[in-house]
């Protein structure tokens, strides 16, 4: 009857365990000894068959005989093989003592292979394991987006330039740079700021910002717009502030409409998102005073 089974399933008709590839046929049956689809390796087509399988690191010898062909539940007899390699081989031999040579040989080969890969598993688990952490797409996207926005809000070039100018003012560079004039300028500006602040207490903060803002406006806007606005308005201090705010507004307006060209190599970043920013009044920075 095994002949019949083979001629039906293996050769001609459909066997659900059979997988064909271009060069070979494989058998997906879990009790298959070699993994190929052959007349001698098919567990369905051989009434006397044996395999070696491992479960949780222990190897078992499975045997199937013709007497139990009618009892599917008791079909496969299982023998635990010893952990010692040689003893296990002897066990296989004595269990399959009068069995065909092919099955005995293949069982021992399979057992050898299984023990080898079990040893390798044990060795690898002792070494460093690479831990794979899954990326969550939503979170990645969110973080990238936030990073972009933070980059735009940071305005790195401006921040770095400001910091460097601060350090220059605080004389951390010593005598390397000969800009003696700026000390007088600063004193003058401070005097102006003080005289203005006497009149209006509210204006103090604006003036301080003004001192910085003035530098900003010089760098950012083109000279022309500055002169135009200066002609239109009077030169009183309040109006100057307004003028600068207007000019800034204008600048931001025109920048948003893309009319003014970018100025200078340092201003190459054009924000796509119009985030209006206000500078923090006291950024805590570390100054490395020599």
């Amino acid at each position: 009857s095994s002949q019949v089974v083979w001629s039906m399933l293996g050769n001609r008709q459909f066997c659900s365990y059979k997988m064909t590839t271009k060069t070979q046929n494989f058998c997906r049956n879990e009790y298959n000894l070699t993994g190929l689809c052959n007349r001698s390796s098919c567990p369905l087509a051989n009434s006397q068959y044996a395999t070696v399988r491992e479960e949780k690191g222990r190897c078992y010898l499975y045997m199937k005989t013709i007497e139990r062909a009618a009892f599917p539940r008791r079909l496969w007899e299982r023998v635990l093989l010893s952990k010692n390699y040689e003893k296990a081989l002897e066990q296989i031999d004595e269990n399959l003592i009068y069995w065909p040579r092919f099955l005995r040989h293949k069982c021992k080969q399979r057992f050898t292979k299984i023990t080898q890969y079990l040893i390798r598993i044990r060795k690898l688990t002792l070494k460093r394991q690479r831990k794979l952490v899954p990326l969550r797409r939503k979170i990645e996207r969110r973080e990238n987006r936030r990073e972009e926005k933070a980059l735009i809000a940071a305005q790195l070039d401006n921040a770095i330039e400001k910091e460097l100018l601060e350090r220059l003012k605080q004389d951390t560079y010593g005598d390397i740079y000969n800009f003696p004039i700026h000390a007088f300028d600063k004193a003058l500006q401070q005097q102006d700021a003080e005289s203005e602040s006497e009149s209006d207490a509210e204006r103090e903060e604006d003036d301080d910002e003004d001192v910085d803002k003035r530098e900003f406006v010089e760098a950012e806007d083109s000279e022309l717009s500055d002169f135009e606005d200066m002609d239109k308005l009077e030169t009183s201090s309040e109006e100057e502030q307004e003028e600068e705010e207007e000019v800034e507004k204008k600048a931001s307006h025109s920048k948003s409409k893309g009319k003014t060209p970018l100025k200078g190599p340092a201003r190459r970043k054009r924000p796509y998102i119009e985030i209006e920013y206000e500078e923090e009044t006291e950024p805590t920075t570390k100054t490395k005073a020599a």
Binding site: E143, I160, L168, F179, E278, K286
Partner: protein, 324 residues
């Protein structure tokens, strides 16, 4: 189809009038089925909105000018930095406890100029070309640093060897799919270990308008916006990578700028054109870091004592709360 602006008669004062059906009857833009026409109508509506907004702004500006002195102060726009949730660990510059802590923590010998930083840069197993090149460029940026390849060595065994050879810091760049994506910065004689997520790494050749190679001069360091206690300690970690005496002749500056918990690293060469103008030119690689965890001792993932871990469910929910 008429446009909807006819219905806005400009009176917000009286009670809302019932929906007036003008002649011809008005459609809302979203009811048009044809996509092209709908798009066109939407653009027209948008333009009109913009015009109205501009007119409103002009009117307000005129009113402001007219009032002159008595005009109400300008409204400050809300930014995320303005609205940031106040962190109670924000460092006050005059805080004595903080200065005392900093005088006695692991970076004290560096800041007292007792130790000279010596950095070891390495990668995870089998680094690919990009990571290797990035390591080399990083080594040119950070003075007194050495790149060693990791050939399957365990970090726990490298660290005692490093300490024996007088290294002060260890940088491990983790790589995934041929791009560097993580950075572990460990201060060596049992200093804190910080684990960062690294993103947008740009090598020197990918930076536009860059200058020449960075020279051997010791760069200056700029640390921006590290406000909280945690930020302070991270800032000190970064500062401890560079030797204490920058050579100003070199005119190079390395910047670590913290914005909303993202730390941007840039390396520039600067030149003072006048006392109020400075020009900067970007050399060197750039990358952004986001802190994932800070550990008290040296690198030990299993038994280490974590000072701070980024917990996504608690810390990512509030958009106005930052930790650095």
């Amino acid at each position: 189809a008429g446009d909807g602006s006819g219905a806005v008669a400009g009176d917000g004062t009286g009670p809302p009038a019932p929906e007036r059906v003008l002649f011809p009857p008005t459609f809302s833009v979203s009811e048009i089925k044809n996509k092209q026409r709908r798009h066109f109508m939407f653009l027209r509506w948008k333009q009109q909105q913009r015009k109205e907004k501009l007119a409103l702004k002009k009117k307000r500006r005129k009113e402001r000018e007219a009032l002159g002195d008595k005009a109400p102060p300008k409204a400050i726009p809300k930014t995320i930095e303005n609205q940031r949730v106040y962190d109670e660990t924000t460092v006050d510059p005059n805080d004595e406890e903080v200065t005392f802590d900093e005088a006695t923590d692991e970076f004290a010998p560096y800041f007292n100029r007792q130790t000279v930083p010596k950095i070891l840069i390495t990668t995870s197993d089998r680094p690919r070309g990009r990571t290797v090149r990035f390591c080399e460029q990083l080594a040119t940026v950070i003075p007194n640093s050495h790149v060693y390849y990791r050939r399957g060595l365990a970090l726990k065994r490298i660290i005692p060897q490093c300490i024996a050879r007088d290294f002060t810091d260890l940088i491990v760049i983790n790589e995934d799919r041929k791009i560097p994506n993580g950075l572990v910065l460990s201060h060596l004689p049992d200093g804190p270990t910080a684990h960062f997520r690294m993103s947008s790494v740009r090598l020197r050749k990918e930076i536009k308008r860059k200058g020449k190679e960075p020279t051997e001069h010791v760069p200056e360091v700029i640390l921006n916006n590290f406000t909280t206690r945690l930020g302070h300690s991270i800032g000190r970690m970064f500062a401890a990578l560079f030797p204490h005496d920058p050579q100003f002749i070199g005119r190079q500056v390395a910047t670590f700028h913290n914005q909303r918990d993202y730390i941007f690293f840039r390396f520039h060469r600067y030149i003072f054109k006048s006392e109020k103008k400075v020009g900067i030119q970007e050399l060197g690689p750039r990358f952004t870091l986001k802190l994932r965890s800070l550990q008290k001792g040296t690198f030990d993932s299993k038994f280490g004592e974590y000072e701070w871990i980024h917990k996504r469910r608690e810390m990512d929910t509030n958009r106005r709360k930052f930790h650095l």
